[in-house]
Symmetry: C2
Subunit: 297 residues, 2 copies
């Protein structure tokens, strides 16, 4: 791909920082400028070599920018889109890394109507339960999916530029409609996060919480790993995608009502049938999706 | 510890097979005899060197037995306790590896009343989502907890013998009442398994299941790892401990009802407070419980 002369990263944490590290290592960027709400992460990102410079205002940040990556929690998308609009030069490519897409696209139409050709929404399917610049890693996106949800107004060149940026990070590119994207990720990502946060919150509030945690083992560790995720980021995701998330939560509550009835009835055959279906589906999926690590170990 | 002359393992899968491998590697057992319902796992266990011999009936198996480890699914405990009673010699130590204890102890009182001094219930807190003899590993119990729930009738010698057997596998010994054991593990083990089985079962039944799984990533992999567990074993655990499990499920359903209301109201501050509490509690626990692997990675 053509080298990016000036990359602007808004939100220099795990997601934005890892893109910066990957492109720098690939020698595909000349200057990386960080912007954000709080000075501490920016200072740490510069200290760690994730970014080269810190911009203190958007005029400065966007001056001569080639590509702008919006990688802050999605709850800030509306304010950031409004803030960059006056300073955005024609031809500057803007993309985002938000875990939800409908709300991001609404913010784009609200504030960036003059730039719809070059603002290309995307979502990298990668993360870790640690956050912040120190958690950033050049390999985070290697072999991971990135879902691009282009706007009808996007120019083919802008979409191609965003795709090649993610490809340079080692990612595998996919495209979806924003609606389909938000439905799919409510089911396989947003709901599991909500469920894990809920279980830990329930147990942590018990009088015997310390005893309970002392007997929790590797199954509990893995089940709750996503509950270690960034609270504000997940608050924003759950709110931004709450309609699809509520639909998934209600489907899951029906499943739990069914399992509860089987337990009450002591219905062993039906319980075993549910467990056997789930076990087969889960292991077939994990063996295929993580071939190097069968069953996700 | 004194070497075990003849160890009888009923159920030569992950749990029983791993004890056999650990004691053999430690050179603490002369002969390991396997028993079980089906010939295939027994043949595989002998082929893999997990056991030395296969016993085809209990009279043969228990003849001269030093220690008997009952490691089959807990649903078989009543039948097995009844079957061994007529052949059990005084002085033979019997223990189990069941994940629930109240039901196991009821079976012991029903059928082994003449042997209460030497029948010592226990539960190793270790597992993997793979099962069967091929999954057995000598290191499975290294550093893991084993909870012994002694009967008032147990002799100190019998309890000591069972404790040292597990210690020889590398385990850390704990003691609890059966009631407390079953309450604690309903919360930190049995409920998470039920929840993971339920989520995978829900999604696997969808018309677009293949698409959903294709976008599931490492968070989903870890959240659902326990859903790859042995269906019959978990059917038995859920039925055996269903009163404590239902109490935990209902507490969790209240938590989900609260989270659902927060989503409906778009209550960001309260959602973030729940997520922040959970994230802090989970990461503090994981950093302490798995120091070599912070946050459970």
């Amino acid at each position: 791909m053509d080298k990016i002369d000036k990359l602007v990263v808004c939100g220099v944490g795990l997601i934005g920082g890892s893109v910066a590290l990957a492109l720098r290592r690939a020698r595909l960027v000349n200057r990386i400028v960080g912007v954000g709400r709080r000075p501490e992460p920016l200072a740490m990102a510069r200290q760690l070599g994730v970014i080269d410079e810190i911009a203190t205002d958007w005029a400065d940040a966007l001056d001569g920018a080639s590509v702008v990556l919006l990688a802050m929690p999605v709850g800030q998308m509306d304010a950031v889109a409004a803030a960059i609009a006056p300073h955005l030069a024609p031809g500057t490519i803007v993309t985002d890394a938000g875990s939800t897409k409908r709300d991001v696209i609404e913010a784009i139409y609200r504030h960036l109507g003059a730039h719809l050709g070059t603002v290309v929404p995307a979502h990298p399917i990668a993360g870790a339960e640690k956050s912040g610049p120190a958690a950033a890693q050049a390999e985070l996106y290697r072999g991971r999916k990135v879902v691009v949800t282009p706007l009808p107004e996007n120019t083919p060149e802008a979409v191609a530029r965003v795709r090649e940026m993610w490809a340079a990070c080692g990612a595998v590119l996919h495209e979806m409609s924003p609606q389909e994207h938000d439905r799919v990720f409510a089911a396989v990502s947003h709901l599991p996060h909500l469920l894990a946060f809920g279980l830990v919150h329930d147990l942590a509030g018990r009088a015997n919480a310390e005893q309970l945690f002392s007997y929790a083992a590797s199954g509990f560790r893995d089940f709750t790993r996503v509950a270690g995720s960034h609270p504000e980021m997940w608050r924003d995701i759950c709110l931004a995608n709450r309609h699809s998330l509520l639909a998934e939560l209600d489907a899951y509550l029906s499943e739990l009502a069914y399992l509860r009835a089987l337990l009450l009835d002591g219905n062993g055959p039906s319980l075993e049938a549910v467990f056997a279906d789930a076990s087969r589906a889960r292991n077939e999926w994990a063996d295929k999706a993580f071939p190097a690590t069968p069953s996700g170990e």
